[in-house]
Symmetry: C2
Subunit: 170 residues, 2 copies
């Protein structure tokens, strides 16, 4: 890393001695960075899912390299959100979330998109925090599939314990 890197100062300010952040620290770090802009800061729940997405060693914490990876993803999702929130209401509409997911490159059935839209809506709208939580989970769960589908056949086989370990943390 470079000590001149502005992200480094947000990160070290909360990471402390061990150089890693847990979900509460990540929430503080992201809030202080102001990356949420005019939207509400990220909820603890969303920060937990962010950690789970990148926490390959299951420590429940995130180092600076993972934080940088998250930061890049968050900026991309924020750009997406701003693009789809054309009337600048601070929310995207249900059908816009479906479009956004398709624009991210996911090919999902109408039924699955529908289930996702319902799950991440609040009073029929999708807020930035929920949009990001949805994007993080989609990426994390798709990674789970990719890591397990050695044959690239679009199917994946799980033992119970393995399935629960992957999905309960996300």
């Amino acid at each position: 890393y470079s000590t001149g890197d502005p992200m480094w100062s947000y990160f070290t300010a909360v990471a402390g001695q061990d150089g890693e952040v847990d979900a509460e620290e990540l929430q503080r770090c992201l809030t202080q960075s102001g990356i949420h802009g005019s939207y509400s800061p990220f909820s603890l729940e969303t920060c937990r899912v962010m950690i789970a997405m990148l926490d390959r060693d299951h420590t429940g914490k995130m180092g600076f390299n993972e934080f940088k990876e998250l930061w890049a993803a968050l900026n991309a999702w924020k750009q997406n959100f701003i693009m789809f929130d054309q009337d600048r209401s601070g929310t995207v509409e249900p059908h816009e979330l479906g479009q956004a997911i398709t624009a991210m490159g996911y090919r999902l059935s109408h039924q699955t998109l529908n289930a996702i839209v319902k799950r991440y809506s609040k009073n029929g709208r999708i807020y930035f925090d929920d949009y990001v939580a949805c994007s993080v989970k989609l990426r994390a769960l798709t990674d789970v599939l990719r890591r397990r589908d050695n044959m690239q056949q679009g199917f994946v086989n799980f033992a119970y314990d393995d399935f629960l370990q992957c999905t309960m943390a996300i």
Copy 2:
């Protein structure tokens, strides 16, 4: 149902004309019922997962029969939580969550229990809302497995879209 049923009055007070509650209405309904006792009322996030657990027709809403099923489960989990919170601190300790999950009849590896405990902790403790969210998700994801494992062999096979539909909503 019986019109003398006290749950019916909590439910109808928020369900309105369609006789079903969405996540925001469920949150109001549960808060008014006082089922959380001396703990904090349930978060919207936990209410969303409660809906997803029982919403077999994917409407994003819950009818009265499903609400009664939820109510019974919540009471059982509350009893469990109180039993494990022996010092009445309002939280259970990480190792107690592992014991509680095992007491619910789940047989999970040490690694999976560990991942779950990390995910649902806040400052190293587990609060009632997170305890219930964890219990709801465990039950919902185990139901997903049971419904798909026709041979009862402890393994389950998913197509990508099916996997994402099941897991994104929970």
